[in-house]
């Protein structure tokens, strides 16, 4: 596997999230990321710091896409978390946290993830999840406990990582 293919396989979803941040549309984001990789494939020269290069390239391509698409008056105040109180690095950390959180959820065992998402994301009650999946309420509770536990550990190391990297 070439370094480029490896980077793609490992970080494609992350690149898409980055592009989504600007385009607010996942299929648009996929298109942008794929185009960036097509361009890099054509270059065939070695790029040092490949991932960083690709991140910048994806950001630029995304900005270009939205400039062309929505060239309209839309001046909006940066959302509260991105205001003048917070620096560029804070934004970057928030993005990194999101990427990690999504990744960790992806890594949960299938059944555990399914139950966790039904409860937290879809707002089903334990009993409803149990009925829908044909399992006992106790199993639902056990799986939720497991999900919390895994995420808790992952988040802890993640926060540590960001603090030390800062």
């Amino acid at each position: 596997m070439s370094p480029l293919e490896k980077t793609f396989k490992n970080h494609y979803k992350e690149f898409c999230l980055l592009s989504f941040h600007y385009t607010q549309d996942m299929s648009e984001a996929e298109d942008v990321v794929q185009d960036v990789f097509v361009k890099v494939l054509e270059k065939s020269e070695d790029i040092t710091q490949l991932k960083h290069y690709l991140m910048v390239a994806v950001k630029n391509a995304s900005l270009k896409r939205i400039t062309n698409k929505y060239a309209c008056v839309e001046l909006k105040e940066q959302s509260l978390t991105e205001g003048s109180l917070f620096s560029e690095t804070d934004k970057e950390h928030a993005f990194k946290r999101k990427v990690q959180l999504y990744k960790q959820i992806d890594l949960l065992p299938t059944q555990c993830r399914k139950i966790f998402l039904m409860c937290v994301l879809e707002g089903y009650k334990y009993q409803e999840v149990a009925d829908r999946l044909g399992i006992s309420v106790n199993t639902v509770k056990t799986q939720m406990k497991k999900a919390y536990k895994i995420l808790r550990i992952a988040l802890k190391s993640l926060y540590l990582l960001i603090i030390t990297a800062a």
Binding site: V56, N60, A71, S84, L155
Partner: protein
């Protein structure tokens, strides 16, 4: 009650009032608890995004990249479309498209008494215009709809093109774009220069073959699409501004050096340039920006998002977290107005957004009002007071 139940109840808004305190206690008990809660509420807020994320198929996407790449490789090598030449066409398309769909309808919908199109307003939207100063001091006003032609140059009112020289006598011309203007000039060597409002460029009408091609950005902002050195016996292209020299071998970049500003920004889009200020020198690669501080005499480099820097050339102002006072400075140059802030705090508030240059200033102000960015504005001749 079990702890995780209390978290779950909070997340699904089933928490009773009397349980809130218990939840707060749980939250404060450890950093891990608050991290978990913070992450999960974030997840709920970004439900749509997360779901789209989950559906991403990496293997399928990789196959798509390979197919796209292959089909591209089968095209003739020199098929790369030169997009720059179509810029003004794109501007027109965008203006048409957006004007008819988003902006205007938004504008009229939000105002109870829509301003009729023919209502005279003293403040004009910027347009293609410039003053050409010939070597003998003659000044010619260039503007949309006005043709101008001499032996060595021709102008259709939107762009000025220098043709093959009649005689090899080097003379200098100045092209001055006022506030409220923009212009495109194609120099004798084929280099294209887009000039933003309040900008002056000095250049020779003829370049001596084999010698360095030098022009000066006297002040303002310009985007250069430089004709490659290999087409000119290797002659480098140099853009001078005060002590700063930018050496180029065929590339595209933006230089921002407005009067009264503390910094000069050189942003590279394609190729490679060397920025030189006396003994200091930096080589830029694409997406890098050299920032020269006129006060501190320093020359720093940074990686930037290029698009917001150069979108002005495509008829759009693009702001990524700029302070409102800086945004208004940019608008001021295009509409030839000055802004005053009654609320000083507003000055430093940061914004992201896009503004189409074809808009009327009042449309922008109305939109800012309806978005609660400002509460009121007052136009007093060429001064606009923001409240």
């Amino acid at each position: 009650m079990k702890k995780r139940d209390i978290l779950f109840k909070k997340l699904t808004s089933q928490l009773q009032d009397q349980e809130e305190e218990a939840f707060q206690q749980w939250l404060q008990k450890s950093e891990e608890n608050s991290q978990l809660y913070e992450s999960l509420t974030l997840l709920q807020k970004e439900k749509k995004e997360f779901k789209a994320y989950q559906h991403l198929d990496v293997d399928k996407a990789w196959k798509k990249v390979q197919t796209k790449s292959k089909s591209k490789n089968h095209l003739p090598l020199k098929q790369k479309v030169k997009k720059k030449s179509t810029f003004w066409m794109m501007v027109a398309c965008i203006a048409l498209l957006v004007g008819s769909v988003t902006g205007l309808s938004l504008f009229t919908a939000s105002s109870t008494t829509p301003i009729e199109a023919n209502k005279p307003t003293s403040i004009q939207t910027g347009s293609d215009k410039a003053v050409l100063t010939l070597a003998d001091g003659t000044q010619v006003t260039l503007q949309k709809g006005k043709q101008y032609q001499t032996q060595s140059l021709q102008c259709n009112g939107e762009q000025l093109v220098y043709k093959e020289p009649v005689k090899d006598q080097v003379q200098f011309n100045y092209l001055t774009v006022p506030r409220g203007g923009q212009f495109l000039v194609q120099l004798e060597d084929g280099t294209k220069v887009w000039l933003n409002s309040e900008t002056q460029l000095k250049y020779p009408t003829v370049f001596v073959p084999g010698q360095t091609r030098q022009v000066s950005l006297v002040y303002g902002e310009a985007y250069f699409d430089v004709s490659p050195s290999e087409n000119h016996n290797g002659a480098a292209f140099v853009v001078a501004h005060k002590q700063q020299l930018i050496k180029v071998l065929g590339t595209e970049f933006n230089v921002k050096a407005y009067k009264g500003e503390a910094y000069v920004y050189t942003t590279l889009v394609e190729g490679s340039v060397k920025v030189n200020i006396q003994e200091k020198e930096k080589v830029l690669i694409p997406n890098q920006q050299a920032v020269w501080s006129l006060q501190d005499k320093t020359l720093e480099m940074a990686t930037v998002a290029v698009e917001p820097e150069i979108s002005w050339k495509q008829g759009i102002f693009h702001f990524e977290g700029s302070q409102l006072q800086d945004i208004m400075k940019v608008l001021g140059r295009w509409y030839d107005v000055d802004f005053e802030f009654e609320n000083q705090k507003l000055k430093e508030t940061k914004f992201v957004g896009l503004i189409k240059k074809s808009y009327q200033i009042e449309e922008i102000l109305m939109l800012m009002k309806s978005a609660d960015i400002i509460t009121e504005y007052k136009i007093n001749k060429r001064t606009i007071v923001l409240k």
